[in-house]
């Protein structure tokens, strides 16, 4: 993975240089292929953008496009400024009429909108681009894509450079660890029912990149997990996702009070940590913050 990032960085660096020297005024992006494999034509640089996911909103603001954002979801709480934007509904429950009334020239969606919202918006003639990152690398790719569509390629490559360097810094310390040196990590996203993030999730990639072994290695996606499996696999570190929407730490409290977990390595050695669910579940620029925190939790000896 780190090899990939290096490669990406070189290409992007070259791209950035090329852009600097060519000094072409921002040209229309033209044809692009989005995260769902859809081909979309963007004729001119979008000026009115609606975001249908908190992660999309965060990417847009990070690229300095805050004032072009005309609509966000109820869950878009970062940065502060995003809260003041008009709301177009919840995450999966999009108010199509509201979107249309904002007259956007670009709608940024995600995979959950694929079957329902996107066809509806397309029928109404709105250009929709879906971002579907599922890993750290793909988050960087999404940022590149948004940069390209919005004519902010320079900002995008700067941001990616920065994020890439930080990811590298973690990878440098964790990639050569032997399996024995990688603690077993139980990542709890909800406690009733007991839920975790299995393979092919952003959280799983973050745990792996931070030098941990996810105990939910045989579960795919965000699923429930048996309590007995957790106890049998005896996690050395437990990370509780907190603040999902509500700003509370119920999963963390559950771990502290569940008597049946008290003989696991993590509880015996007092290694239960909280991580902000908004950081680790949103495939936006702040997922790198989650990675750094996670690395610090899993390998306090390497990351001081």
């Amino acid at each position: 993975m780190s090899h990939n990032i290096r490669e990406n960085l070189c290409i992007l660096g070259a791209l950035a240089l090329f852009l600097c020297f060519s000094c072409v005024p921002q040209s229309p992006p033209g044809n692009i292929v989005d995260g769902l494999g859809r081909s979309v034509t963007i004729d001119k640089i979008p000026q009115r953008i609606v975001s249908l996911a908190p992660s999309n909103t965060e990417i847009l603001f990070a690229l300095g496009l805050g004032d072009k954002v005309v609509g966000v979801t109820e869950y878009c709480n970062y940065p502060q400024e995003a809260k003041t934007k008009p709301k177009v509904g919840g995450f999966s429950t999009v108010d199509i009429e509201k979107v249309v009334s904002l007259e956007p020239d670009l709608v940024l969606a995600t995979q959950i909108h694929g079957k329902t919202v996107i066809p509806a918006l397309e029928k109404l003639g709105l250009p929709v681009v879906a971002l579907t990152p599922g890993s750290l690398n793909e988050v960087l790719d999404s940022i590149t894509l948004v940069g390209k569509i919005t004519g902010q390629s320079r900002e995008a490559s700067k941001l990616i450079n920065d994020l890439g360097t930080r990811i590298e810094a973690v990878a440098d310390k964790t990639q050569n660890l032997s399996p024995d040196q990688k603690p077993r990590v139980f990542y709890i996203t909800w406690h009733d029912p007991l839920m975790t993030a299995g393979t092919r999730t952003l959280a799983d990639d973050v745990i792996g990149s931070a030098g941990g072994q996810n105990i939910a290695f045989d579960i795919s996606g965000d699923k429930t997990i048996n309590l007995e499996t957790v106890i049998y696999r005896d996690p050395q570190v437990i990370i509780a996702s907190v603040g999902m929407g509500t700003g509370e730490d119920l999963p963390w409290q559950y771990v502290q009070t569940e008597t049946r977990l008290k003989n696991t390595q993590a509880l015996l050695n007092n290694r239960v940590y909280k991580i902000d669910g908004d950081l680790i579940h949103r495939p936006g620029p702040r997922v790198v913050d989650a990675l750094e925190q996670m690395a610090h939790f899993i390998h306090p000896e390497l990351f001081k």
């Binding site: 109820e74 869950y75 919840g90 429950t93 909800w190 406690h191 009733d192 029912p193 007991l194 839920m195 299995g198 939910a216 045989d218 579960i219 699923k223 429930t224 997990i225 048996n226 309590l227 007995e228 499996t229 106890i231 049998y232 005896d234 999902m244 929407g245 509500t246 509370e248 119920l250 008597t259 049946r260 003989n263 696991t264």
Partner: protein, 359 residues
């Protein structure tokens, strides 16, 4: 218990309705009780963690008897057997028994094969209570969800009862209609709250489909007295329930205080259903399929039907929950999906096999 009731039968008129196969039915009751015991032991050995039967026996011996044995197993195996699997399958057994008994009672009271424990508002009341619990500030949630579910269930039935009551009598048709209407009304509120619940939706749906995933001993301890007392009360009313199958008027003439019996049975069935759903959610199908299955095999005499349904319900739900926690292990399936998925085809098979009227 059933034997005692048999001796007291003094109504040859009703007794002749049913074929006299008492001995085989008593064997069936004993047999199902034994099967329940075996089911508990066997499913205790099954789970996402591989524990051999040999290890299980040695852990059980060491823990339950005072024979001292050197533990050759990891300490977490003990936690898994005694603190995760055992309370879980005991709760599943209790809930299965409760739903089956309540279903049998409702079907008997309403003389309607489609009646199930949720017919007159228990489920909708419990669901609304639970969803309100989910919406509360998060630090209040832990204990309040089951409590609110229990209160919601009892309140819903109490409202339905008071609406349907005409003077001193309780017409069953009015009761059903009032139950269905109030149920729809409560379900509308619940649905709206779910739409508005945002990221709590997963927890709510999981509760509504029914799950035993985090059962621990205190839940078993809380539920047991209600279900135990309610079930005993219902068992003791098997004979009046039989007589009421004829006609309420005739039952009255035969010396049964019909209105009082209705009230007691409704109360007991509602109480055990509310206790059953409050921790594990709305588990469907058990309450309708088990009574019918037992009736198809052993006949409609409530003196046998009620105890047989109790044990059959317990066995069925324990097996269903075992499937729920092992089929896709280490992840779980809500048990309500399993009960319908396994139960419905089996029931249809029975219907094909025994093409005779259920009632």
């Amino acid at each position: 218990m059933a034997l005692e009731l048999l001796k007291n039968v003094t109504l040859p008129k009703t007794a002749t309705i049913y074929p006299i196969r008492w001995r085989s039915r008593i064997y069936a009751i004993v047999g199902l009780a034994l099967l329940l015991g075996i089911t508990v032991i066997v499913t205790l050995a099954v789970g996402s963690t591989h524990i051999t039967f040999d290890t299980l026996c040695r852990v059980l011996l060491a823990k339950l008897t005072f024979i001292h044995a050197e533990p050759t197993w990891a300490s977490n195996i003990e936690t898994i057997i005694f603190d995760i699997r055992l309370p879980r399958l005991l709760l599943a057994g209790l809930v299965g028994a409760a739903l089956a008994v309540a279903g049998t009672t409702y079907q008997g009271l309403f003389r309607n094969p489609l009646a199930d424990p949720y017919l007159i508002g228990v489920a909708q009341g419990a669901a609304l209570g639970a969803v309100i619990g989910f919406m509360l500030p998060i630090s209040w949630q832990a204990g309040s969800i089951p409590l609110l579910a229990f209160i919601g269930a009892i309140l819903a039935v109490a409202i339905v009862y008071s609406i349907a009551r005409v003077g001193k009598t309780l017409p069953m048709t009015t009761l059903i209609l009032a139950g269905v209407a109030l149920g729809a009304f409560l379900a509308a509120i619940t649905s709206y709250l779910m739409i508005a619940s945002g990221d709590k939706l997963h927890g709510i749906i999981s509760w509504l489909l029914g799950t035993f995933s985090l059962t621990s001993w205190w839940q078993v301890a809380m539920v047991t007295p209600y279900i135990f007392v309610g079930t005993i009360i219902i068992w003791l009313h098997a004979r009046p329930l039989n007589v009421m199958q004829l006609d309420e008027e005739q039952a009255q003439q035969l010396g049964i205080n019909v209105e009082q019996v209705k009230l007691i049975l409704l109360g007991a069935a509602t109480m055990i259903t509310a206790a059953a759903v409050c921790f594990c959610g709305i588990i469907g199908f058990v309450g309708i399929i088990i009574p019918h299955t037992v009736r198809l095999i052993w006949g409609p005499d409530h003196r046998f039907l009620l105890p047989l349904a109790t044990f059959a319900g317990a066995i069925f739900l324990i097996l269903s929950d075992t499937a729920a926690r092992t089929m896709l292990a280490p992840t779980e399936i809500p048990v309500g999906i399993i009960t319908a998925f396994l139960g419905a085809p089996f029931f249809l098979y029975l219907l094909r096999q025994k093409k005779r009227a259920i009632f």
